[in-house]
């Protein structure tokens, strides 16, 4: 079961709580400011081209703790 998250750069305030709970450590802080002046969280996958090998499982832990509801989670459906 593989997943993917989308972080809304403009809603994120860079608190970093999602980073602390991600079991796969796929979330970091972006090097680029958003228009509010925060460094937002940034999701990255090593194998983003191959959907079979991505680390994200779509567990939703990041989205559960996100104070700004800036994360949307997508998950592959079971066959």
């Amino acid at each position: 079961m593989r997943g993917r998250i989308e972080i809304d750069r403009e809603r994120c305030k860079g608190c970093g709580l999602c980073m602390t709970v991600c079991p796969k450590k796929r979330i970091g802080i972006s090097a680029k400011l958003n228009t509010k002046g925060y460094y937002p969280a940034d999701f990255s996958e090593d194998n983003s081209s191959d959907s079979e090998k991505t680390a994200c499982t779509g567990c939703c832990l990041c989205a559960l703790v996100c104070p700004d509801v800036a994360i949307e989670v997508y998950r592959e459906e079971k066959e």
Partner: protein, 245 residues
Amino acid sequence: MKKVFSRPKSLKDVPFHYCPGCGHSVIHRLVCEVIDELGIQDKTIGVPPAGCAVLAYNYFDVDMCEAPHGRAAAVATGIKRMLPDRVVFTYQGDGDIAAIGTAETIHAANRGERVTCIFVNNAVYGMTGGQMAPTTIPGQVTTTSPGGRIPLRDGNPLDLSAMLALAAGSVFIERTTVINPKGVNRTKKAIKKAFQTQIEDKGFSLVEVLSPCPTNWKMSPAESVNWVEETMSKIFPIQVIKDVA
């Protein structure tokens, strides 16, 4: 891929004004998720407080009626008695419910008003700049207790939830946190149970949520989460305080 997590329907699609790492917005989201799950968006009336959450009516897509500082329980009582088929909740901080609003809240609980209080406890007066609140824990540094709160001089932290549990009219009181995914899930369950208690017309329900305030605690969001877990939850233990529903 299927979307498995997104913004609840009754939470308006606007950015929050809260500081980075604040617990308020998580609790807003949980209340909205419960409202969606119970399907009560069109018959819910919220009462926001004075405090950081004073603008909560900008975020909840339900009817809201602002209350004067501390009087949310009294305003909610009035609404519920005139419109008994509605679901009425108050959303209050510790400076609102546990300081200026103590009398209103205790009497609403004692009368067993069918309202639900969401009590956000962050151990300081957040909006006014981090002054000592009744819930400030011993030793905690705030702008009005720069050397730390000393119980003999400043008094001890007030455990309002335990006081309300003594009232005969209260039926469900639980204390939770929003500092980790487990706490978030537990808080949502507690809020859902509190709303159901009200819908079933059983009596007064309250959920106290220990919420981080990184700005006024002068900590990073990650440090404030640890502080709730290691220090604050020792004074305010995470537990079901009363459940006779």
